[in-house]
């Protein structure tokens, strides 16, 4: 099973001809992802890597290839428009990798998507990986920019706001022999499409997922909400980590959403909420994998 995507999911990439998008499109192809189309306005009719057809519009790409997921690698000024185009074309899932989209744009996009039935992951996220069963987890579905080779097919669900910190967690799990069902990066922006809570619910309903790692950081209250829900509703063992305990208040720590303001969004409050919910909180980022082992025992 896994959640959101599996090895049969057909994906398209908006912005496939950019250097960043193209590089990661190739890595996804190498991983075994069913990358069936690219979209770059004005470049319809061309091919990516000699095999993947490029279309002028997402509508054409979906109609011709049956893609159900779109990954957005479009530069920030055009990313909001690209997300709405994908939603309008009827995809089920949009994964926005782009970093640096104005918050006002994301606010409007979220409001406009309200009744569409499509789900948005991100923006400013590493994407989604459902590892495959081949060598170095190949044969799975890799959408975005995560390194495929650190993964291993298995039973741990991973959800995180960060990129490299997620890789660190996945790497620790794989080193301990614990594979992953699906790894979801929900992104570091203040307004995003999918929350920790949304992903926890999906993992809870997924028969393949037997344990969960939830990685958060300072800013907002999404981790607290997810923890409160998990306390009442989730039977699966959960380990967690919150980055930013030493961050000074009022400063944005790289991610636009990572800021403690007005005393809200502190690491202490998040860690307390997670512990209160019975989540095994890693004492430091080196301890994330071991924390899950403790949670499962």
């Amino acid at each position: 099973m896994a959640i959101l995507v599996d090895e049969n999911t057909k994906i398209l990439i908006q912005g496939i001809t950019g250097s960043f998008g193209g590089r990661h499109a190739q890595l996804s192809l190498d991983y075994g992802t069913q990358l069936v189309a690219g979209v770059t306005p004005g470049k319809g009719g061309q091919k990516f890597a000699d095999t993947v057809p490029i279309f002028d519009t997402v509508g054409d790409a979906v109609a011709e290839t049956g893609a159900t997921v779109s990954a957005i690698f479009v530069p920030p000024p055009f990313a909001g428009d690209a997300i709405l185009e994908a939603v309008d074309a009827g995809v089920d899932l949009v994964v926005a990798i782009t970093e640096g989209i104005p918050v006002m744009d994301m606010m409007k996009v979220r409001a406009a998507m309200k009744d569409s039935g499509a789900r948005l992951i991100g923006p400013n996220c590493p994407g989604i990986v459902t590892p495959g069963t081949g060598e170095n987890s190949q044969g799975g579905c890799r959408i975005g920019i995560a390194p495929g080779y650190i993964h291993k097919r298995g039973k741990v669900g991973v959800v995180s706001r960060s990129g490299t910190l997620t890789y660190e967690a996945v790497y620790q799990l794989t080193s301990l022999g614990l594979g992953q069902s699906t790894c979801v990066g929900i992104g570091g922006d203040p307004i995003n499409g999918t929350s920790h809570l949304d992903v926890l619910k999906m993992f809870n309903d997924d028969p393949e997922t037997e344990a969960i790692i939830m990685i958060g950081e300072i800013g907002g209250t999404a981790e607290e909400e997810a923890a409160a829900w998990a306390k009442e509703n989730c039977d699966k063992p959960i380990a967690g980590f919150i980055a930013g305990a030493t961050a000074p208040p009022g400063r944005r720590m790289g991610h636009a959403g990572a800021i403690v303001s007005g005393g809200k969004g502190t690491a202490e409050a998040k860690i307390a909420a997670m512990q209160e919910a019975g989540i095994e909180v890693a004492q430091n980022p080196s301890d994330m994998g071991q924390a899950l082992v403790r949670a499962m025992s």
């Binding site: 590089r23 920030p76 203040p190």
Partner: protein, 392 residues
């Protein structure tokens, strides 16, 4: 990004948000001219990004960055004592801030002070207007002690502010008749400004009513969305680099996310989440981080080199911890950047390097083959412990 009071006033005027009459001046003559166009109650204020101006002291001995005067000559006299002088307040630190401009404005008769702000609320994913009858004080304390005095309106992200929402707020603030109308006009302008300029927050504190029934924005604080500055060149220009930590200004030139802190173990990390986690583990291991530094997911050798120079420019730094998880990023690129940087600067403090991930073997070979004196570490915990031990 912060802006000056006079810049805020100019933005307010552009969007029809009423403020006291006045203008900015950068010479005593200009101050005199502005003051001459005003009434007989005039306020002269030093323009720096720091609170506590009124109680501050200039390094030339002159007391106070905010003064009340009655004549144009007095205004010129005060201006003379402030311009090109350094003001020290409880927020500027001992080094103070150089005052290059002053604000000369009508000193308004205040009947009552209110609080009004608009912010981008992440939970409701909407702009939220916050208003209170308790103005001119710390609003967080009001929210803590008397939450019933805080009034909020969540605005629809696509429809924008509606007349009934303005009426609701005016009524909760106890404003009626012409005063309520003036408040409505001000709030509409403020909301338009918030949306058009990609603000993440605009705070008017205090908003005041006068005995004549006028409603004026007396002081304001802005926060703009850095991600949207590309479409507001006029706002990006308001940025005053002399008001910021010079290390942060330098880092921004190379697209590095750097925030200076007070500790002595510098860190250089790829990715914001991992960079925060690295600071945390330094602290957890008994050390104090000197900075937050995210070189990004796809850093170049050049960026790493410059990042090194910036952290070594901090005299408090006694050790450096490099923590790289090369997902897609090539560890060898980082290794070459470190070697290049160490070739240019005199590295005389311990350097702990933890590389993991993509092409890590080549990276380790690059470091081992160079003459850079470093301590290598395997895990994040190992790296932090070694960095702390190195300066113990």
């Amino acid at each position: 990004m912060n802006i000056h009071e006079y810049q805020a006033k100019e933005l307010f005027e552009k969007f029809g948000v009423a403020t006291p009459k006045g203008q900015v001046a950068d010479t005593p003559e200009a101050a005199k001219e502005v003051a001459a166009s005003l009434g007989s109650n005039i306020v002269v204020k030093a323009q720096v990004h720091a609170g506590g101006r009124g109680k501050g002291t200039f390094k030339n001995g002159f007391q106070g960055g905010v003064h009340l005067v009655n004549t144009a000559d007095e205004a010129a006299d005060i201006a003379e004592k402030m311009i090109s002088q350094t003001l020290v307040t409880h927020q500027t630190g001992e080094e103070g801030k150089l005052v290059s401009k002053i604000m000369v404005a009508d000193a308004v008769d205040i009947e009552k002070e209110y609080y009004l702000s608009i912010l981008m609320d992440r939970e409701s994913r909407s702009p939220v207007i916050v208003a209170s009858t308790e103005g001119g004080v710390n609003i967080e304390e009001v929210a803590e002690e008397t939450p019933e005095k805080i009034h909020k309106e969540v605005i629809h992200p696509l429809l924008g502010i509606q007349p009934y929402e303005i009426r609701n707020l005016a009524s909760k603030l106890g404003l009626y008749g012409d005063t309520a109308k003036q408040f409505g006009k001000l709030l509409k302008g403020l909301f338009k400004l918030f949306m058009s300029c990609d603000c993440s927050m605009v705070e008017v504190n205090p908003l005041v009513t006068t005995p004549d029934g006028d409603v004026l924005a007396l002081d304001a604080k802005f926060d703009f969305d850095d991600n949207a500055l590309y479409r507001h060149p006029e706002i990006a220009e308001l940025h005053d680099p002399t008001e910021e930590d010079p290390r942060e200004v330098e880092a921004a030139k190379y697209d590095l996310n750097y925030i200076g802190l007070d500790g002595n173990i510098a860190c250089l990390v790829n990715g914001a989440g991992l960079a925060m986690a690295t600071m945390d583990i330094i602290k957890h291991s008994g050390g104090e981080p000197a900075n937050f530094l995210d070189v990004g997911g796809g850093a170049t050798q050049e960026q790493v080199r410059n990042a090194f120079k910036i952290i070594l420019g901090d005299p408090n730094v006694k050790a450096i911890l490099v923590n790289i998880f090369g997902g897609i990023m090539d560890c060898d690129v980082i290794a070459k950047g470190i070697v290049a940087a160490c070739g240019e600067v005199d590295l005389n403090i311990p350097l702990v390097v933890r590389l993991e991930g993509n092409n890590v073997e080549a990276g380790k070979e690059t470091l081992a083959g160079s003459d850079v004196d470093l301590i290598s570490a395997d895990t994040l915990a190992d790296a932090a412990q070694k960095a702390v031990a190195a300066i113990a």
